[in-house]
Amino acid sequence: MNMKHLATLAALTLALLSAPASAHLFHVGITDISFNARTGNTEIVHTYMAHDVEALLANLYGRQFDLTDPEDQDVLRKYVEGRFWVTGQAAGQDKSRLNLRWVGMTADAERVTVFQEIEQTPLWKAGAIHDNVLVDFLPSQVNTVNLNEGNAVRTLTFDRNNQEQPAR
């Protein structure tokens, strides 16, 4: 982890912990995007608070979900794929969405982690990122997307007012 990355996280942590005592639960999601030179794929890892995902699904479908059940995972997959996507680079005249392959997901009592990848595509081909996962459900949801390129990490922040941003 480089210093910039650490600084971003530290700032976010401080911001959250220094919130007044009267504040409510914060709703955050973090996405790490990086290129895996070995496979040639751009890999995407989303981490959301289990509490938020549970509340989301319960309020969408009116029932409880078991995210170790593949059928219930499909429901979250449909939701995430409809709210997070990466478009091709504008300079390449290709603004269509890049194909995000669903690799899988894990869930434990604290977090839900979703793995996606863009096959045989380097990160620099990404033109823009759209992310309103949980943002449509929780007004205060803030999603942080870390773009790891070489040793450099750039951080984009998505919330209700910023749902799509250029990747470079």
């Binding site: 959250l16 005592a21 973090i30 981490t47 549970e54 078991d66």
Partner: protein, 681 residues
């Protein structure tokens, strides 16, 4: 699963700090193991009493239900039975009550009350035949009068059924069963104009094992348009249900014993009825960081024609004793609640909730003597306008991690306006009640909570009884019944999850009623009776030893007495359920459930008692492929010849010279099988 890059330690710390530092908000669901283990929803930190709970859609779907009302048996200690034709409201038993057709059990479906007050046949008539099980997202229940949110009929319990706004997959299913059972249903939830349109259609026919087939025909449908999320959005729903049936009412034991009647025979083969229910309802909710609001409103049109004959030829040896109880009503109402979330410190938080409820029933009902469903005499005809308003305020405070309190008070005012065909039985009456409630929850250990609950509740009496001067049948003078009857409950409870993968709850309660509603067999209706006291203990245990296996065991015992020491006829004493459920054993799933419905006193001096009945139901499902499932359900696997219900009263058969006191019973259905093919996409 490829591990792409180790997540930064700081991220873990961030999440851990978030979870540890954040007090739970009332609008937020407390983290549940259900999300990662598929366990039953934990009530630790949520429920205000040991008896309250929530049953999810998957658990409800895993139950075998002969009729829709049996879904409510997911509420531990509740028995749902039938003593007549399938379209009739079920018979309910809970916490030492014979609840008749739903008195003292408040049932709600999607913000609409199901209980019908001042009903022609029974106070609080609860007909849930319009339920479509596939749409049910969850069942929330609580027992006892400990919540300021609960009003009429909730003294024994309160059950709230919520339909989903959308389905994860569209569903089509076909069921074929023995005894002429067929069912087809179709449901889906396409996106439409930025929202979701949920639709469902159901067609059901059931003849049953009866010598004269029930010939129950149900047509049922619902349509809902919703926008947004359940906690931040709105929905508008239309429902339509129509049922038509013949009834095999209870028969006298003496006639079966001497071979005159078979167990499945009827005496009056023109008994039966038809019911229609149409409703339009809407729910709006807004949930924010600081507050949450909910508003719901509904208009329900209910129509029932019911023909019964419980005494055969006792009152009229020529024409027989069949009577009709038509009831036509429009129920309209609205409920509103607003909650402020007040966070006073890191560990202390309060929810202050205010709420209001309005309901108006415009009812035309009657009681007629009939022969083969043809009217031969009018006993009474009434036009009732019953209007009620209620308000409550409730403060729920989490003082620290080990202590919570809920303090509430509610006030209800009822207005009864009866225009009867007999002027002396017409008039107006009002009644008001203030009901306090208090709960103390101690959580000295992370996985165990203790509860102390106290509260007042009530049920309304039939409006006709509040103004009546004479019994229209006998012309005897009547004492006017109070409009509202107070109940007082107190309870000690324990809930623990100290043993891993196990949820256990124990309740010890006492419930006093100022007046008991008593079922009058030959009149076919309920009337206000003596005061009563119930003391009981309930045990509920859910164990999920393996990911694919769960075991649940519930047992309850209640002692019910009138204030003069008499037994209360029909009051249930012991009930129990033991179920094994398995899921995802490869393509296989299934369940085996035993239900014990204990003996009841059938008469005040306890000299006549019913037998217990025990039934074993089961189901096996096989997933043919991702979207296709075949399921076999079996009811009464051991083919027991028990009673679904027993009464003790006098009746007279054709050919008998005088009335005879006897047990009258309705048998449980013999072993039967149903096969269902379900397609989802």
């Amino acid at each position: 699963m490829p591990i792409l890059r180790p997540l930064p330690c700081a991220l873990a710390a961030l999440f851990a700090a978030q979870l540890a530092a954040s007090p739970a908000c009332a609008d937020d669901l407390v983290l549940q193991r259900v999300l990662v283990e598929g366990s039953r929803l934990s009530q630790l930190g949520i429920a205000d009493s040991a008896n309250a709970g929530s049953v999810g859609q998957k658990e409800l779907a895993a139950r075998t239900t002969y009729r829709p009302g049996e879904m409510l048996e997911a509420m531990p200690g509740l028995i749902v039975s039938q003593h007549s034709g399938e379209g009739k409201a079920n018979q309910f038993y809970l916490r030492g009550f014979n609840l008749d057709h739903g008195t003292d059990l408040a049932t709600w479906v999607d913000g609409m009350p199901v209980n019908q007050r001042s009903h022609a046949h029974g106070q609080g008539w609860t007909d849930v035949n319009f339920l479509i099980p596939e749409l049910v997202g969850r069942l929330d229940y609580r027992k006892g009068p400990y919540s300021a949110r609960d009003a009429d009929f909730a003294s024994a319990g309160n059950a709230e059924i919520s339909y989903a706004n959308r389905l994860t997959k569209d569903i089509a299913s076909v069921t074929l069963g023995q005894d002429g059972f067929t069912r087809a249903m179709l449901a889906g939830s396409p996106e439409l104009l930025g929202g979701t349109l949920l639709y469902a259609l159901e067609s059901l026919e059931n003849e049953g094992p009866w010598t004269r087939p029930d010939d129950y025909r149900k047509r049922n449908g619902m349509l809902r348009y919703s926008r947004g999320y359940a906690n931040n959005g709105w929905s508008v729903t239309a429902m339509a249900y129509r049922g038509k049936w013949n009834a095999t009412d209870q028969i006298p034991l003496r006639a079966v014993a001497d071979g005159t009647l078979g167990r499945f025979d009827a005496i009056d083969d023109t008994d039966g009825g038809n019911a229609r229910r149409y409703s339009l309802s809407g729910i709006w909710r807004q949930t924010g960081m600081e507050s949450a609001s909910k508003l719901s409103a509904y208009v329900i049109r209910n129509q029932l024609d019911l023909y019964s004959n419980f005494t055969y030829f006792m009152n009229d040896p020529v024409n027989g004793d069949q009577f009709a109880q038509p009831d036509r009503r429009v129920t309209s109402g609205a409920d509103a609640t607003h909650t402020w979330h007040l966070h006073r410190s890191d560990t202390m938080a309060s929810d202050l909730t205010v709420g209001a409820r309005l309901q108006n029933d415009n009812i035309f009902n009657g009681l007629y003597d009939t022969r083969a469903r043809q009217k031969i005499a009018t006993t009474r005809e009434d036009h009732i306008v019953e209007t009620s308003g209620g308000m409550f305020i409730e403060s729920a405070t989490r003082w620290n991690e080990a202590l919570r309190t809920v303090l509430g008070i509610r006030a209800d005012r009822y207005r009864f306006d009866v225009a009867s065909d007999l002027a002396a039985n017409s008039g107006r009456a009002n009644d008001t009640q203030v009901s306090p409630s208090f709960s103390l929850i101690l959580a000295p250990f992370a996985s165990t909570e203790f509860y102390l609950n106290y509260g007042h509740g009530f049920h309304s009496n039939d409006a006709r009884g509040t103004v009546a001067a004479f019994d229209p049948k006998t012309l005897e003078a009547l004492e006017r019944a109070p409009g509202l009857v107070r109940s007082r409950g107190m309870e000690l409870g324990l809930r623990t999850e100290a043993i891993p993968k196990m949820q256990t709850a124990v309740s010890l309660y006492r419930l006093d009623f100022d007046s008991e509603l008593t079922y009058i067999g030959d009149a076919g209706m309920t009337e206000a009776g003596d005061a009563s006291r119930r003391v009981g203990i309930e045990f509920s245990n859910y164990w999920r030893p393996l990911k694919w296996l769960s075991v649940d065991f519930d047992a309850a015992f209640a002692r019910a007495r009138s204030n003069n020491g008499d037994r209360i006829p029909g009051a249930v004493e012991g009930v129990g359920q033991l179920a094994l459920t398995f899921d995802k054993l490869g393509p296989w799933s299934g369940a085996l459930r035993m239900r014990y419905f204990g003996p009841r006193p059938l008469i005040e001096d306890n000299s006549v008692r019913s037998q217990a009945s025990t039934t074993l139901n089961g189901r096996v499902g096989y997933k043919i492929n991702k979207g296709l499932q075949l399921e076999l359900e079996a009811f009464n696997l051991t083919n027991r010849r028990d009673s679904a219900i027993d009464y003790y009263y006098a009746s007279q058969l054709a050919g008998e010279l005088s009335p005879r006191d006897d047990i009258h019973f309705h048998p449980i259905e013999p072993r039967s099988l149903r096969v269902t093919l379900t397609k989802t996409w």
